[in-house]
C-alpha cells in the first residue's frame, strides 16, 4: 500500500507549483498530480501582491487536484526570502552520571540547551538541525549515547526568519481554503531531493538558483554545516541585461538562457541579434558585453556565498563539489563556470528516487518542491509515531 498522499506548494518568484505525491512501498516517491503556473505577485521570493499570488495558488491547486483526483485539504509550503538566516548555537552540559556515561537524558538536555536561542522579537525559528556532538575535546561525535566523558556539547544549526513574512505565506494558503501542515526552507528541501548519502558524506554545496533568491545548503561530515539565502536570483540577471543594454525584459530573459556565461570573454567580438517584438525594433549587441554583465552579477553572488562558506572554514571539506538546482541551472555553461571558479566538481542535481509524471520528476527546477514532498512524508510519519522529538536529525542529518 502506498502512503497517504501529501501536497507541496511552492510560491516561487517565476513559477508557482503544487505537487501531489505518495510514497510507494519500495521507498520511491510517486508524483500523481502537478499544477504549475507562471507566478505573479511574488518578488525575490516574497509575496508583494497578495491578490495575484492568491489567484496563482488557487489555480495550481485546482490543476493538481484534477490530475491526481485527490481533494486537497492540507499543503506543505516551501518558503524562502532574503530574511532567512542561519546561526550555529551550542549548548554544553556537565555529565552527571556516576561513571561519566552519557545517557539519553543528557543528550536531551544538551539539545534543549543548543536549541534555546534568543531572537529579536520579530523573528521565529524555522528549523533546528543537529550538527554534531563534542565529548570533552573529541569532535564530530555522531551519537554520544553510551560514551564516557566529563562534558557534553551539542551544536545546532538554527534557521530563523521574520515571523510576519512566514505567516503571510500561511495566510495565503488559508485564503485558498487549505490548511498549512508544515513550512520548510527551500534550500533544505532541494538538498533533500537531490543528494545521495555519498555526497553528504564527502561534503557538498547545494546551490538552488531560483528566480528571486539563491539558497544554499552546505553539507560537511554528513551534517548541515551552513545554510543561507541571498535575495539575488535569475531575475536580477534578466533585469541587469535589460537595464544595461536597454532592451525589453522578455528579450533579456531569452538572452540570459541562450547566451549564458563564459569566463573567457576576450575573444567574443561578434554581435548577437536581438529580434524585434511588440514595439521593440530589434537590435544587435556585442556578445562580450552580454558575458560581461552576466559574469559580473554571477561572480558577485558566488563570492558572497563562498565568503560565508569560508567563514565557517568549510571550503576544503567539499569533496563532492557543487550541486545545482533551480531554474538557474538551465543557463548555458553555468555548470563549467561555477566548477572553474570554485575549483571543484559541479553538476546539475535532479530529484532522486522519484517516479510518476515525467515533467515533475526530472528537472532541477522541481527539486525544492519534490524535497518538500519527502519532508512532508517523513514529517507525517514521524509525528504520528513518536512526536516531533529529534526528527530533524534523522531527516536532515544522516
Amino acid at each position: 500500500m502506498a502512503s497517504f498522499p501529501v501536497v507541496a506548494l511552492e510560491m516561487g518568484t517565476s513559477k508557482v507549483r503544487a505537487l501531489v505525491g505518495e510514497e510507494r512501498e519500495d521507498g520511491y516517491l510517486m508524483v500523481i498530480g502537478v499544477g504549475e503556473a507562471p507566478s505573479r505577485g511574488v518578488r525575490k521570493g516574497e509575496i508583494m501582491d497578495f491578490e495575484n499570488a492568491l489567484a496563482c495558488a488557487e489555480s495550481v491547486l485546482t490543476l493538481a487536484e484534477e490530475q491526481s483526483k485527490v481533494s486537497i485539504n492540507y499543503v506543505n509550503m516551501v518558503i524562502t526570502g532574503g530574511h532567512i538566516r542561519s546561526v550555529i548555537n551550542r549548548g554544553t552540559v556537565p555529565v552527571l552520571e556516576a561513571e561519566g556515561e552519557i545517557t539519553e537524558e543528557a543528550i536531551e538536555r544538551v539539545s534543549e540547551m543548543a536549541r534555546a536561542i534568543s531572537l529579536p522579537n520579530d523573528r521565529d525559528v524555522l528549523h533546528t538541525i543537529h550538527q554534531q556532538f563534542y565529548v570533552d575535546d573529541q569532535e564530530g561525535v555522531v551519537n554520544p549515547e553510551g560514551m564516557v566523558g566529563a562534558r557534553l556539547t551539542a551544536s545546532m544549526l538554527i534557521m530563523h526568519g521574520v515571523r510576519n513574512r512566514v505567516v503571510t505565506f500561511q495566510k495565503l494558503a488559508q485564503s485558498a481554503k487549505v490548511d498549512v501542515d508544515s513550512c520548510a526552507f527551500s534550500g533544505l528541501c532541494a538538498a533533500l531531493a537531490v543528494l545521495t548519502p555519498e555526497q553528504k558524506e564527502s561534503g557538498c554545496v547545494v546551490l538552488d538558483l531560483g528566480a528571486g533568491t539563491t539558497d544554499y545548503v552546505v553539507y560537511a561530515d554528513r551534517c548541515i554545516a551552513a545554510a543561507g539565502c541571498i535575495a539575488v536570483g535569475g531575475d536580477h540577471i534578466t533585469n541587469d541585461l535589460a537595464m544595461v543594454l536597454n532592451i525589453p525584459l522578455q528579450q533579456s530573459e531569452k538572452l540570459k538562457i541562450d547566451v549564458g556565461v563564459n569566463a573567457d570573454k576576450a575573444a567574443f567580438e561578434q554581435p548577437v541579434i536581438i529580434p524585434p517584438s511588440g514595439g521593440f525594433s530589434g537590435r544587435s549587441v556585442r556578445l562580450r558585453d552580454v558575458y560581461d554583465i552576466i559574469d559580473a552579477r554571477l561572480d558577485e553572488l558566488l563570492d558572497m556565498i563562498m565568503a560565508d562558506i569560508e567563514r565557517h572554514g568549510l571550503k576544503k571539506q567539499l569533496g563532492a563539489g557543487v550541486v545545482l538546482t533551480g531554474g538557474g541551472a538551465y543557463m548555458k555553461n553555468v555548470v563549467p563556470y561555477i566548477g572553474d571558479k570554485w575549483h571543484m566538481p559541479c553538476a546539475i542535481g535532479r530529484p532522486k528516487n522519484v517516479s510518476g509524471i515525467a515533467v515533475a520528476t526530472e528537472g532541477p527546477e522541481f527539486a525544492a518542491t519534490i524535497g518538500m514532498l519527502r519532508y512532508a512524508l517523513r514529517h507525517s510519519d514521524e509525528s504520528s509515531r513518536q512526536g516531533l522529538k529529534g526528527f530533524f536529525t534523522r531527516l536532515f542529518g544522516r
Binding site: M48, I230, D292, R297, E300, M304, E310, R311
Partner: protein, 377 residues
C-alpha cells in the same frame, strides 16, 4: 568594550591600562595561559585549551580559529549586552589572525557594533606572515562593521631620528604606545557626544570611501605652538609612509584637547593637512574635550590609501582628435557611451521592492553599473 586579541592585543591593552583614563571594560583573549597571567586586564579569557593545551598557537592561524570555535559559548557570553566592541589585534600570528574573524562575527551576531583595529606585521617578519594577515583582513573585514588597518612605522620611518639606534624592547613599547594613543583618541571621539562629534556612522563612511585599508597618523603636542607642531609631525609621518592625501578617498580628523582648544588652532591643522586634497573628497572632523589634559593636544588623521574604486577617466581616442583637425574628413558616427552615473541607484523592475543591502551596496542595482564597468565600443 575594548578587547585585546592575541599577543599584540594583550600588549596594547597593558599600555592602555597604564594610562590614567576611564576606559570601558577591557578584556584580553588569548590561548596562551602564561601570557594571560602577565596581562593587567581585569577580565581575561583563555580560549582553546582543548586544542593548544594552554600554550600559544605558535603562529598557526588555523589553530587560532579552532581555538575560538571551541570556546564559542564563552565568547558569546562575553559579548552579550555590549553595544560597541573594539577589537585590537596584530595580524600575522595565530590568535590575532585566526580568532579575530570569529570574535568579530560573534560580537556582531550578538548585536554589538564591531570595529576591528589591526596592525600589519612588519616587513621583516616575512611575506608569509603578511599573506596570513591579508587573509585575516578579508575575513575579519567582512565580519566587522568597520575595520581600521594600520601599517606600523618601520624602524627607519620613525619620526625621531634617534630611534634608529633604539633598543628593540623600547621600539616595541613605543609601537604599542602609539597604537594605545590612537585607540584612546578614537574611543574618546566616538564616546563623547556633543561638540563636533564623530559618530560610528561617520567613521564607517570615511573608511568605506577610503577602501578597506586605512592609514592612521597621530601626534600630540603642548605649548603655544602646539597646532603647528602637530601639523609638522603628522606631515612627517605621512612623508615617511609615502602617503599623500591627493589620492585618498576620504579623511577623518579627530582632536582630543584641553578646554582651551581654539577654533583658530583647529582651522590651521585642518587647512594644512587637507591642503592637497581634491575639493570633493569627504572629510569628517571630530572634537572631544578632556578636562585633565592640561595643555596637551592630540590629533589623529585617518586617511584612506589610494582610492581603487575610482573609475578611470576615459582616454580620448587619438583618431577622434586627429579627425577633428581635418574638417573635410567625414567621421563615421561613434556610439556615445551610456552615462552610467545617471543610472546609479537605478533598479529597473525592482523599483518598488524592498532593497537588499550587502556591505552598504544595493544588490538590486546591476553589478555591472555598481562596479563602474563600461560597454565596449
Amino acid at each position: 568594550m575594548i578587547v585585546g586579541v592575541g599577543g599584540a592585543g594583550l600588549h596594547v591593552v597593558n599600555v592602555l591600562l597604564k594610562q590614567d583614563m576611564d576606559y570601558p571594560p577591557m578584556v584580553v583573549v588569548d590561548t596562551d595561559g602564561r601570557a594571560l597571567e602577565h596581562s593587567m586586564a581585569p577580565q581575561r579569557l583563555q580560549i582553546g585549551t582543548g586544542v593548544t593545551e594552554g600554550l600559544s598557537t605558535g603562529g598557526d592561524a588555523d589553530l587560532g580559529r579552532r581555538a575560538a570555535n571551541e570556546d564559542f559559548v564563552k565568547i558569546r557570553e562575553l559579548f552579550s549586552d555590549t553595544d560597541m566592541v573594539l577589537l585590537v589585534a596584530g595580524l600575522g600570528g595565530g590568535v590575532g589572525s585566526g580568532a579575530l574573524p570569529v570574535l568579530a562575527q560573534t560580537a556582531r551576531d550578538e548585536g554589538a557594533l564591531v570595529i576591528s583595529m589591526v596592525s600589519m606585521p612588519l616587513a621583516l617578519e616575512g611575506q608569509d606572515r603578511r599573506d596570513v594577515a591579508d587573509r585575516a583582513i578579508e575575513l575579519a573585514g567582512r565580519a566587522s562593521h568597520t575595520m581600521i588597518c594600520h601599517e606600523l612605522p618601520e624602524a627607519k620611518q620613525q619620526d625621531d631620528p634617534d630611534n634608529q639606534d633604539a633598543a628593540l624592547p623600547s621600539v616595541l613599547d613605543a609601537t604599542a604606545q602609539l597604537v594605545g594613543l590612537r585607540i584612546r583618541v578614537l574611543w574618546k571621539l566616538l564616546e563623547q557626544p556633543g561638540l563636533f562629534s564623530v559618530d560610528f556612522a561617520g567613521l564607517r563612511h570615511v573608511i568605506q570611501e577610503a577602501g578597506r585599508r586605512c592609514f592612521m597618523f597621530t601626534a600630540e603636542a603642548s605649548g603655544k605652538n602646539r597646532a603647528s607642531l602637530i601639523v609638522k609631525r603628522i606631515k612627517q609621518q605621512m612623508t615617511g609612509a609615502d602617503i599623500t592625501l591627493e589620492e585618498s578617498g576620504g579623511v577623518m580628523l579627530g582632536f582630543l584637547g584641553p578646554e582651551d582648544l581654539t577654533l583658530a588652532e583647529m582651522e590651521l591643522i585642518v587647512r594644512e593637512i587637507t591642503a592637497d586634497m581634491p575639493a570633493g573628497t569627504r572629510r569628517q572632523i571630530g572634537v572631544a574635550l578632556e578636562s585633565q589634559a592640561r595643555s596637551t593636544m592630540q590629533a589623529i588623521v585617518l586617511a584612506g590609501g589610494k582610492n581603487e574604486h575610482k573609475p578611470e577617466e576615459p582616454a580620448t581616442p587619438s583618431d577622434v582628435t586627429a579627425g577633428a583637425k581635418r574638417p573635410g574628413y567625414l567621421k563615421s558616427p561613434i556610439q556615445k557611451e551610456i552615462e552610467f552615473d545617471t543610472m546609479k541607484g537605478a533598479r529597473g523592475r525592482f523599483n518598488n521592492v524592498e532593497p537588499t543591502f550587502h556591505n552598504g551596496e544595493d544588490l538590486d542595482t546591476p553589478t555591472y553599473i555598481r562596479r563602474g564597468m563600461k560597454l565596449s565600443r
